[in-house]
């Protein structure tokens, strides 16, 4: 790969060991994918809980982030330093996490990383623009940045985003290059009235498509251009859970794709895939709950709940009281807004607990005792919690989940 004199100096260690390690990692990674050079990033979004030794290593002698703007992803492992007691998380585990937070915090502050602790950084100040190059972790925001905003985010993980935040650079490759962003596969809906689909149906559609198309770019036909951010989020976030999709064109919404033909770059698609109601039903079947099955824990907010979704939860739960534990993942900044609107108080009065943690990654922590089933309105959380935690997950609508939390048990719709 071509390197500027400044980059050569960093690689030679002239600017300190942290920058050297971070840049060398990016060069190795870029070389592997045939990147010809490094380019500046407009913003980075990094993990909140990088292993301390790793974070210390990569930031040694670094005084400030190289990227102009850096935000942090949620806490992972059912832990929020403010609300873990109310979440019912075991004390020993929480104390150990608290110590780690204390060790990491000075580094994060020194580097000027903004402690946003959310998986939707563009809702809280990490505002992306069309054409900007981003180094963001979070498969959900990567696909949304590419497909809804027209910013450019490569599918990458916690290591490279931290290196990009520190150096301010990323290898120019993959989805950062316009020629790699065209759709390869056309996806059509058959016999599905998408306008009538609820939030769970939309996620089930995305989950099925992801497993079918792997890492290809797709164009999804039949999605109304008036769909809300939440509806589009529900369609897109599952695509890189069951699969590895990071670019989902929707004609009339994706800035690069006024039409399906534009999305395809005026080329013939490699394949066409049809989704029918049968495939949606299969997804529900995989994560079905039995009628009357006790549900000790209900989690909402993967990705983090928006202000609109918090309003919906508040209206469903107002005046009721939960029997199960109810955790709601959202950003602190969105929670402040929900408090102003009165939603937060309604939810807390009903027994809900807010947390700035990743609701899909909760099994990396320690569950409250007796948590053997988790119900969630997120297919992504259902997928990861069942696999990482080895415990049963039930997937349903927000209403199904709130009702289950109030009753303490699942109520089957069929």
């Amino acid at each position: 790969m071509f390197l500027t004199q400044e980059e050569e100096d960093i690689l030679a260690g002239k600017r300190g060991p942290g920058l050297q390690k971070a840049l060398s990692l990016l060069v190795k990674y870029g070389d592997a994918f045939g990147a010809e050079r490094l380019v500046p990033v407009a913003a980075a979004h990094v993990w909140a809980i990088d292993p301390y030794e790793f974070l210390k290593d990569l930031t040694e002698d670094v005084t400030r982030a190289g990227a102009p703007l850096v935000t942090t992803h949620p806490y992972t492992g059912c832990f929020d330093p403010d609300t873990w007691k109310d979440m019912g998380v075991p004390t020993d585990f929480a104390m150990a996490e608290t110590e780690l937070v204390k060790k990491r915090s000075p580094i994060i502050k020194r580097l000027n990383f903004l402690p946003t602790f959310t998986c939707l950084p563009f809702l809280v100040g990490n505002f992306a623009l069309k054409g900007q190059i981003l180094s963001w972790m979070g498969s959900g925001v990567q696909i949304m940045a590419n497909s809804l905003i027209g910013a450019r985010a490569q599918r990458e993980g916690i290591v490279s985003v931290l290196a990009s935040a520190i150096t301010g650079k990323t290898p120019y490759m993959g989805l950062l290059k316009p020629e790699n962003r065209w759709a390869q596969i056309v996806v059509k809906l058959d016999g599905i009235n998408i306008e009538k689909c609820n939030e769970a149906d939309l996620q089930a559609i995305g989950y099925y498509i992801g497993a079918k198309v792997g890492d290809k770019n797709i164009v999804l036909e039949g999605v109304p251009t008036w769909f809300s951010f939440e509806q589009l989020k529900n369609l897109m976030v599952p695509l890189p859970v069951s699969g590895a999709v990071a670019m989902c064109h929707i004609a009339g919404i994706t800035p690069e794709a006024p039409t399906v033909q534009d999305a395809l770059g005026h080329r013939k698609p490699e394949e066409e895939i049809i989704v029918s109601k049968k495939e949606i039903d299969e997804v529900y079947f995989e994560y079905a709950g039995a009628d009357g099955e006790p549900v000790p824990l209900v989690v909402l907010g993967c990705p983090h709940l928006t202000i609109g979704e918090l309003e919906q939860v508040a209206s469903l739960i107002e005046g009721k009281r939960v029997k199960s534990r109810l955790w709601l993942g959202t950003a602190e900044q969105i929670l402040a807004l929900a408090r102003r609107m009165g939603y937060a108080d309604i939810i807390e009065k009903a027994g809900g607990v807010f947390a700035r943690c990743c609701m899909a990654g909760i099994p990396f922590g320690q569950f409250p005792e007796g948590t053997n089933v988790v119900a969630t309105n997120s297919i992504k959380a259902a997928h990861y919690i069942s696999r990482i935690g080895g415990i049963k997950t039930i997937f349903g609508t927000t209403e199904d989940c709130v009702k289950a939390a109030v009753a303490g048990k699942w109520k089957s719709r069929v």
């Binding site: 990692l25 592997a32 994918f33 498969s139 990458e156 993980g157 290591v159 890189p240 990861y384």
Partner: protein, 136 residues
């Protein structure tokens, strides 16, 4: 013993010798893998199979961006694969391998998923970009 030599592209170098575990579906360290035991998780077609100390052969990567961390945690317990071979790797699986610094190769001259069988003895040479299947 005879050996069949396959040629691929090196993403991270190094050498490894061991038994293959061949997956037919894309792999992620998050979701498919339990870093506490080094085995494939519940719901995986090969649930319970250990990939610790093995050479993982799979079509490509998939899934969430936290995967390199899971690989890192498994490494602290010495429970990771010792090399990864893919048909065509995705960036996150590549970064997972880079994080734990094990050889990772892809784009072979043959279809590795049908050519290599689970339990085959492999010699991975991440300097030459070759994989030898022993006994073939």
């Amino acid at each position: 013993m005879s050996k069949k030599i396959l040629k691929g592209r090196v993403i991270n170098g190094g050498k490894a010798e061991g038994k293959a575990v061949v997956l037919k579906t894309p792999f992620s360290f998050i979701g498919d893998f339990d870093p506490a035991t080094g085995t494939l998780t519940k719901g995986h077609p090969m649930e319970g199979t250990s990939i610790a100390g093995k050479i993982l052969v799979c079509p490509t990567g998939k899934g969430g961006t936290v995967a390199p961390y899971i690989a890192y945690i498994a490494k602290t317990r010495k429970l990771t694969p010792i090399a990864i071979l893919c048909q065509s790797v995705d960036p996150i699986l590549a970064l997972s391998a880079l994080t734990i610094d094990i050889p990772i190769l892809d784009r072979f001259d043959v279809d590795i998923i049908s050519e290599i069988k689970t339990e085959d003895e492999l010699e991975v040479d991440g300097e030459q970009g070759t994989v030898a299947i022993c006994g073939k």
